[in-house]
């Protein structure tokens, strides 16, 4: 490194990024009073601060959306801002894809696109988006710190004070992670807030990481994604839930877990205080969760099943209930929920002994995917939650037992445990589409899009159990690929995959306990009726919560 006293000589400086950021901040400051910029100046602010080709993180979380900043970015002068590289968790709002249509953005790295799965598929096939990669949440967060660090972060917060301290409230979600990566690597952080206050209820993001604040006239967009109406739970889902509780939760003693969202897991949550209680399982299973605040868990919480829950985000309508149950949920000094997706994903990876969730397709090796020929939903958190964590070192009962089943002959001291990864669902899904297939649509998609890797959600060699209305298949006990295939066919019901089973092989697997039918677990399918559910309607959940749960309008029938 050369030191020079002559300012005109070109010197090697190692602070170029910081200098560049300061130039942007100066340009933006012309539109601000302190840190505050009027909503009507939001587009001009972005034109001043964002450069062509920048990596921009637009929140884009699983639930909350920085919708004002999305619209503001969409409206920029293309001569000033174009060809951006978007790095964001969720592609959720139509504006997120409009950016590509318009040419504001060119390249995309993301994790989840559920609400835009059809359109993003069309745009990817049509070459309108240059895809970096589809990630899991935790994986994308990790890259924010290595090679996908944002130049500009456009975030959503509930409120700000004039210094720029932010309150992100129950839906804190990704924000601390995004800000950490951006602010400490010479990036610019712009926040839209619902209101500007004299004092924030708690400081979720300290002011020195926030450069500009824009007050929106409407609260930022949040959708209820984790509410499942008990009235919609079917007998088939109740049966799969009973099989899971008696066939997996109980024998492995699963206390620390994550539930993927879905009706079968909602049924499990609603069966704990009834079916679970009758089996004497309270205190022995389902005590610690990495889980969003599912309303369906309220009866179990009220019945004393749950000790602690850490959450990725919040859920509309649950704020007052959470406040009143701070013994269970993580809350700040202001009393409201503090969620954190990065930490909850980490918790799901290393501190949980089981993941259980649903999917759209499972093949004969047990690989699963939610990709279909015309829809790309991305990965979200499932591959992370639903994967064996080989970096784990601390033992637990379920982990050791699963490890022993997987490798009965290995040396006990060198034999690592296994995380239970359970796929649960009915053999026929929505519109009677079969769950089990010979070849995943994801493979066809990879061929069509020339991807290096087919978008598999959970790999077969991570899956430990499959639960359908036909029974429980324990893949840990399968000794080779052939047994694995028959075990899967053996619970695939009347799908084509199931009808093509080798009946003798399946019967032998049943005798070994690799497959267990409802009768083998002492369960009569005719007993799986809705009277088993601790709550049968949203109104029941409200009653269980003592009136604290306030469901969003679309769930009301009163």
């Amino acid at each position: 490194m050369l030191m020079s006293t002559h300012a005109e000589e070109s010197t090697t400086t190692w602070q170029r990024h910081r200098e560049a950021r300061d130039v942007r901040l100066e340009a933006g400051a012309r539109l601000a009073r302190g840190k505050i910029v009027e909503a009507r100046d939001a587009t001009r602010l972005l034109e001043a601060v964002v450069r062509p080709g920048d990596r921009v993180c637009l929140e884009g979380d699983n639930q909350k959306q920085a919708d004002l900043l999305s619209r503001a970015l969409l409206a920029v002068d293309l001569a000033k801002v174009n060809d951006l590289h978007m790095v964001q968790s969720g592609v959720v709002l139509p504006e997120h894809l409009d950016l590509f249509d318009r040419g504001v953005a060119k390249k995309l790295d993301y994790a989840y696109s559920g609400p835009q799965s059809a359109r993003i598929a069309r745009m990817l096939f049509g070459g309108k988006i240059e895809l970096g990669a589809v990630h899991t949440y935790l994986e994308l967060f990790a890259r924010y710190f290595i090679d996908l660090t944002p130049h500009v972060a456009l975030i959503a917060a509930v409120s700000a004070d004039r210094e720029g301290n932010l309150f992100t409230g129950p839906n804190t979600e990704d924000t601390p992670t995004v800000v950490e990566a951006t602010a400490f690597k010479d990036g610019v952080v712009i926040a839209q807030v619902n209101e500007i206050v004299d004092e924030v209820p708690r400081v979720d993001i300290p002011a020195d990481r926030v450069h500009f604040i824009v007050k929106s006239d409407k609260p930022f967009f949040v959708e209820p994604l984790f509410t499942r109406d008990p009235a919609a739970i079917t007998e088939g889902q109740i049966l799969t839930a009973m099989l899971a509780i008696k066939g997996i939760y109980a024998p492995y003693g699963v206390r620390r877990l994550n539930h993927g969202i879905g009706f079968s897991t909602a049924a499990i949550e609603l069966l704990l205080p009834t079916f679970g209680e009758r089996l004497g399982l309270r205190g022995r299973i389902a005590t610690h969760f990495a889980l969003n605040p599912h309303p369906a868990l309220i009866p179990a919480i009220e019945s004393g099943w749950v000790q602690q829950i850490h959450s990725f985000g919040s859920e509309v309508g649950m704020d007052e209930y959470i406040r009143a149950r701070s013994d269970v949920y993580f809350t700040g000094p202001d009393g409201s929920l503090r969620s954190n997706r990065a930490f909850c994903q980490t918790a799901g990876l290393y501190a949980c002994d089981m993941f259980i969730g649903s999917t759209l397709q499972i093949d004969l090796q047990g690989n699963s995917s939610t990709v279909t020929a015309s829809r790309i939903a991305g990965f979200g958190g499932a591959p992370n939650m639903g994967a064996d964590a080989r970096g784990r070192r601390h033992p637990s009962e379920p982990w050791l037992k699963a490890g022993q089943e997987a490798d009965p002959d290995g040396s006990a001291l060198l034999r690592r445990g296994r995380k239970l990864v359970v796929q649960i669902g009915e053999t026929f899904g929505d519109k009677n589409v079969p769950l089990f297939v010979e070849k995943l649509d994801a493979i066809e998609l990879a061929e069509k899009l020339n991807l290096e890797l087919a978008p598999v959600m959970i790999y077969g060699d991570d899956v430990t159990h499959i639960v359908t209305e036909e029974g429980v298949a324990n893949l840990l006990l399968c000794r080779d690929a052939g047994e694995r295939e028959q075990a899967i066919r053996g619970v695939a019901g009347y799908t084509e995959v199931g009808r093509r089973r080798d009946r003798n092989a399946v019967e032998r697997l049943r005798q070994r306990g690799v497959i267990r039918r409802p009768e083998d677990l002492g369960i009569n399918p005719l007993d799986a009726d809705r009277s088993m559910l601790a709550a049968r309607s949203i109104k029941d959940l409200v009653r269980w919560s003592g009136g604290l749960y306030a469901p969003p309008s679309k769930f009301r029938n009163w």
Partner: protein, 312 residues
């Protein structure tokens, strides 16, 4: 606590079964004295719709309505229950004819009340004119039965609500019992929004839908006479109470009804929302009415009164 249905004692089943969730046949089995239901023109008779085949739609053997006879605390009653999950409980030709026939039988016999468990979106569009005719015939049959001294009582609490022609028929009944999930109206929320715009009525604002058409409001307004909790036991009690409450019917009753309705329009015609009506009625913290438990609400409704013993 939650034992499987078949292991539950019969009394427990009546107490805990939700009217809203139960099928038409289950509602009748639990409403009436155990084992007393005798079904007329049951599914084994296969009196199905002659129209649905044209549209390549599945039929139901009872065409979506169960009619018959049974006992309530030992006393005979005629009963009809619509299956709200079959074609939205809508009236078709056969469906309507079964109810008309039941009412005409009641008219002949004169001394046996009729309980109609409404669960309907109105006329079956596929059967159009036949459905409309059925509504008209049923309304006439209700009035003729009432004129002959028959008490015709409506019970409303299913998921389809009581809409369209069903709402019209309900308005002809001697008395109505309704639960919180129940709704009574003629035009449905989506129809109102389509025709009048979302500012007039946002059909996705379900709290608004229930404030406007739901059981609690109907009770407070006097459009229904009894509010029942959403259990079979509560509806059984309501049916029994209404049979006891309904008085004789004649021209003077109709005139009293007109006066009641005119008075209602005068008092509340300028109100924009049901909450305004409740406030005008002197209810404190009116906006909390939807959150009241069944017991709290029934106590409030009894203070308001407006049970139309002397009208309808």
């Amino acid at each position: 606590m939650n034992v499987p249905l078949r292991q539950m004692a019969p009394d427990d089943r009546v107490r805990t079964t939700s009217f809203n969730e139960a099928s038409a046949r289950t509602r009748l089995e639990l409403l009436l004295d155990p084992g007393s239901l005798v079904e007329f023109i049951g599914p084994e008779k296969r009196e199905i719709s002659p129209h649905l085949k044209i549209f390549d739609l599945p039929e139901q053997f009872d065409d979506g309505i169960v009619v018959g006879h049974g006992r309530l605390d030992g006393s005979p009653v005629f009963v009809a229950a619509q299956e709200g999950r079959f074609m939205g409980g809508a009236f078709g030709e056969v469906h309507g004819a079964k109810l008309t026939g039941l009412l005409r039988a009641a008219r002949q016999i004169r001394s046996i009340p009729v309980l109609i468990l409404f669960d309907t979106g109105g006329v079956r569009l596929q059967e159009a004119n036949a459905g409309e005719l059925a509504i008209a015939e049923i309304m006439r049959a209700v009035m003729e039965a009432r004129a002959a001294g028959v008490k015709v009582i409506g019970l409303i609490g299913g998921r389809a609500g009581c809409y369209g022609g069903g709402g019209l028929i309900a308005g002809c009944c001697s008395a109505l019992a309704v639960s919180e999930p129940g709704r009574i109206a003629v035009s449905g929320p989506e129809v109102i929004e389509t025709n009048r715009g979302v500012e007039e009525f946002d059909s996705r604002d379900r709290a608004l839908v229930w404030r406007t058409m739901g059981g609690k409001h109907r009770r407070l307004l006097g459009a229904a006479d009894i509010f029942a909790d959403d259990t079979m036991q509560a509806f059984r009690d309501a049916a029994r109470d209404l049979i006891g409450l309904v008085g004789p019917f004649g021209l003077d009753k109709l005139r009293a009804e007109q006066v009641r309705l005119a008075d209602r329009l005068r008092r509340f015609g300028a109100c924009e929302d049901a909450v305004d009506i409740w406030r005008a009625d002197g209810i404190a913290r009116a906006e909390t009415v939807p959150e009241l438990s069944a017991d709290q609400f029934i106590a409030l409704a009894n203070r308001i009164g407006r049970i139309s013993r002397d009208a309808r």
